[in-house]
Amino acid sequence: MFKRLPEAEGAAVAVTIDGEPFNAREGDSVAAALLAAGRTYCRETPISGAKRAPYCMMGVCFDCLVTVDGVGNRQGCLVRVQDGMCIETQHSKRALGELGS
């Protein structure tokens, strides 16, 4: 759906999205990487289960919540990708370690 601008530069950053390897670019936010990877949604809402994708890309809408390196409800647009980062689609409510069932 989204294409990178021809002039876009930056070194590759290897992340996984739901376990699949993906090469993001240095400087990408997690939300940008998800869009570049062709993901059409990044989470299901906690109550109705509706699908949501990154929207405002500037920290306001909270629609791009994802699990980053095991921590749920991170705002994908405010987190920069890093080598080895594990990005996961979020289903339902955020789990709380061992206490979250």
Binding site: N73, K93, L96, G100, S101
Partner: protein, 374 residues
């Protein structure tokens, strides 16, 4: 005087709507006059407990009144569901008050003892428990939790949905709702009331003042009094939605049906409901984390302050006017907990035209008039 209404209820919060609901159930034609979105509106800011333990120290009948409401909640929930289809997510599995030091535990034990040793107080179960016993029911409590008290009558609800359910149910029952009708004056005339608002006059045979702190201004217009505290602010902190981990509400920490964790129960002398004291939030959050260490990783998403509706002694006021028969006043802090008793006990008395002094005489504002009370 032409009257479209048997009864006008002033105040469209939880208290006014619960009374209006009870009056409509009695077949009365009711109109609710509400201020609007600028109102202080404690019904939007409360913590949503349906709470029994710790109520009534200093006024034993308040314990019985609270228990009666707690017992009436099941019926209220069923009726509102039938009327509106809304589930207000009422749970009554019991609730805890947790103590973070031996000293707090001693104070808690003393309060429980004092409430139960009052003459004429209604008896109910409340258990003092140590860390180990509590941990069996609330896994995940922190090592600093020394103990606490558990009362099986305590519960909680989704208070915003309750508020909406009352509005929907009242609409269905034909109750008129008029926002933007801040009451400016009330005249008692020919056995009825003419109520002045910026949007015109409303006439009614009876009037019920349920306008929270504004009752202080309104009550003298109909020969009543409502001594209120006007600067009792509370704050609430709300977290992101997380998987259920809290099986019982704690007086200061509860998890809602939708997964957010609410942290509350601060008291502060301030009349500013738009401000926020972050130092108080910090204390509330620190205590919540010491009770449930898992909260340390949970994000806060919002917080707010709200003014408590608090009579001068903290207990409800229900009163009827001697000089303007048909005028009633109701003030209380616990509009959620007492919703059932307001709908099913207080409203029928008002519908009949007189408060039953056997049941609610003790709550008259006469208790504030030293010379009359003496």
């Amino acid at each position: 005087m032409r009257r479209d209404n048997d009864i006008a209820v002033v105040g469209g919060g939880l208290l006014g709507m619960a009374i209006a609901y009870g009056l409509a159930r009695e077949g009365k034609r009711v109109t609710v006059l509400d201020e609007g979105d600028v109102a202080l509106r404690a019904s939007r800011g409360n913590f949503a407990l349906v709470w029994v333990q710790s109520k009534g120290l200093g006024m034993p009948p308040y314990t019985g009144w609270t228990i009666r409401s707690s017992e009436g909640w099941a019926q209220l929930v069923t009726e509102l569901k039938e009327q509106t289809g809304l589930d207000v997510c009422f749970e009554r599995r019991g609730g805890f008050m947790l103590c973070l030091s031996e000293r707090e535990m001693e104070t808690r034990a003393a309060v429980v003892r004092q409430i139960h040793s009052q003459e004429g107080v209604a008896k109910y179960d409340v258990a003092l428990m140590g860390h180990g016993e509590i941990e069996k029911m609330l896994p995940g409590i922190g090592p600093e939790v020394v103990g606490g008290s558990y009362c099986p009558l305590d519960g909680h609800v989704n208070a915003l949905r309750l508020f909406r359910a009352f509005h929907m149910a009242n609409h269905r029952l034909g109750v008129g709702y008029r926002p933007g009708h801040r009451v400016e004056d009330i005249k008692y005339e020919a056995g009825g009331f003419r109520i002045q608002t910026p949007r015109g006059e409303v006439a009614a045979g009876k009037v019920v003042l349920a306008a929270g702190t504004a009752n202080m201004r309104l009550a003298p217009m109909v020969g009543l009094s409502a001594p209120m505290q006007t600067d009792c602010r509370g704050q609430i902190v709300v977290t992101e939605r997380v998987q259920p981990f809290l099986s019982y509400p704690v007086a200061t920490v509860r998890q809602t049906d939708e997964g957010t964790v609410m942290i509350g129960d601060s008291y502060e002398d301030s009349a500013d409901d738009m401000g926020m004291n972050l130092a108080i939030n910090a204390v509330m959050i620190d205590r919540a984390q010491r009770m449930f260490p898992v909260l340390a990783d949970v994000n806060v998403v919002r917080s707010w302050s709200c003014l408590r509706v608090m009579t001068r002694d903290g207990f409800p006021i229900y009163d009827q006017s001697e000089t303007c028969p048909g005028a009633f006043v109701a003030c209380c802090h616990s509009g959620v907990t007492l919703a059932a008793v307001h709908a099913y006990a207080l409203a029928p008395m008002i519908a009949r035209g007189a408060l039953d002094t056997q049941q609610v005489g003790v709550f008259s504002a006469q208790r504030f008039h030293v010379q009359k009370a003496a």
